[in-house]
């Protein structure tokens, strides 16, 4: 803070922090003068209206894009990608930080025996939250999987089994996925999925999942937009060939992300939210996309290309023909 500044100037300077640093450097001192010129003699603090106006102007400035259609399209596409990846990241965080443990073997056996009277053909336990099914190679939620011999005992009497759970205080609903016959029951952190030949005891989706998914999507949207706004500002002071190289790199990276975005929207978000539409129960694995190696490699290559483009925009030497900022607030 500079010595000799009035309290009003100090407060306005604080409010001007809402503007991005590069903007304060070039326009800060001038804006401070404009604000002080508009104040009344003897005024010690900004009015609520002017304070809100300064902060709002600063936020708008942070989100301001370079003029031109390309800038708007890039910002919209990046914001969309940010929303998708943010939602997936939010879901991942919610599952990893808030999901409860799987029931112990004894607890799981007790649940299974209360539903089906005869012994299962096999019992397999997968403690991971989400992982690969070793038999089918598909992603699935962790759980205790009981398989029953349909030939020996006939199909599981699903109605009867669910009735037993209902009597023990479980919330029971019919399984609505396209290929499922049976039902789903939930009690606390535990979910039971029943079909005619199997019973899966897994973790119930934590209550934080939809919230963190929405927060992640929101932060991703803002982050994507701000990234393009920042790249635009940086490129404004770069040479034409630097602009072309950075834009081409970022566009190629974004194209490489498209397959991942497509599958993520469908399988990780849409089916996860609207389970009724999913073709099978595996859609409960909300971030499986990155465990499929070919897709993962393409996605990481795309992200690397975008990061390189951003780094190039940050580090490329300035175009000397573009005038540097004149005078602003000292940092």
């Amino acid at each position: 803070m500079e010595p000799g500044m009035t309290p009003l100037a100090k407060r306005f300077r604080l409010l001007l922090l809402a503007f991005p640093r590069h903007y304060r450097r070039s326009r800060g001192a001038e804006m401070l003068t404009t604000l002080l010129d508009g104040s009344l003699p003897g005024q010690r603090r900004p009015t609520m209206r002017s304070a809100l106006s300064v902060v709002w102007s600063g936020i708008r400035c942070r989100f301001r894009l370079r003029p031109g259609k390309f800038s708007r399209i890039a910002a919209a596409a990046t914001a969309l990608a940010g929303a998708v990846f943010g939602a997936v990241l939010g879901t991942w965080v919610a599952w990893n930080w808030t999901a409860g443990p799987l029931p112990s073997d004894a607890q799981a056996d007790a649940i299974a025996r209360s539903m089906v009277r005869y012994e299962p053909y096999s019992r397999e336990r997968y403690d991971f939250r989400f992982g690969t099914d070793p038999r089918l190679g598909q992603e699935m939620p962790g759980g205790v999987w009981y398989t029953y011999d349909e030939d020996e005992h006939g199909p599981i009497q699903t109605e009867q089994a669910l009735q037993a759970l209902r009597a023990n205080g479980w919330a029971v609903s019919p399984a609505n996925c396209r290929n499922c016959v049976g039902g789903i029951a939930v009690k606390g952190d535990v979910r039971v999925t029943l079909t005619r030949w199997s019973l899966v005891i897994s973790r119930e989706t934590p209550a934080a999942v939809p919230w963190l998914m929405a927060i992640g999507a929101l932060l991703g949207t803002f982050g994507g937009w701000l990234l393009i706004a920042r790249i635009g500002r940086l490129l404004a002071r770069r040479t034409p060939w630097q602009k072309t190289a950075v834009s081409a790199g970022a566009a190629a990276g974004f194209l490489a992300l498209l397959p991942c975005l497509y599958y993520t929207v469908g399988w990780n978000i849409l089916y996860y939210i609207a389970w009724d539409f999913s073709p099978d129960g595996f859609s409960r694995a909300p971030f499986w996309i990155l465990s499929w190696e070919p897709l993962r490699n393409v996605t990481f290559a795309g992200l690397a290309a975008i990061l390189l483009a951003v780094a190039a925009a940050e580090l490329a030497p300035l175009d000397r023909q573009v005038a540097p900022p004149v005078r602003g607030l000292p940092e």
Binding site: E30, M31, T33, T34, S53, W56, R60, R64, V326, R327
Partner: protein, 113 residues
Amino acid sequence: MMMREPTFLILSALAGKPLHGYGLIEEVHVLSSGRLKLSLGTLYGSLDRLVEEGLVRVNREEVVSGRLRRYYEINDQGAAALAAELSRMRHAADLAESRLRARKAGEAAWNPA
């Protein structure tokens, strides 16, 4: 392309003489008959765009009592853009006026009494 009102008023204000930030806010307030008071964001957002489009340039900088005042002035390209916008507005006003006259004439023909 049609000019936004704040841009039009800022160019009009600068057509008279070079002005600094607060001078521009006051002049736009007067030109809009007290209707428009530019916020800091709108003022500097418009100035950024006008400078970048080459319609306005920095005239001079003054430091008075430790405060930096940057004066802006309209250049030839800006004056031409303002004249083109005025011509467009005048044309639109003439068209609207002729429609109003035709409407009044039509009403008179239908109601000769």
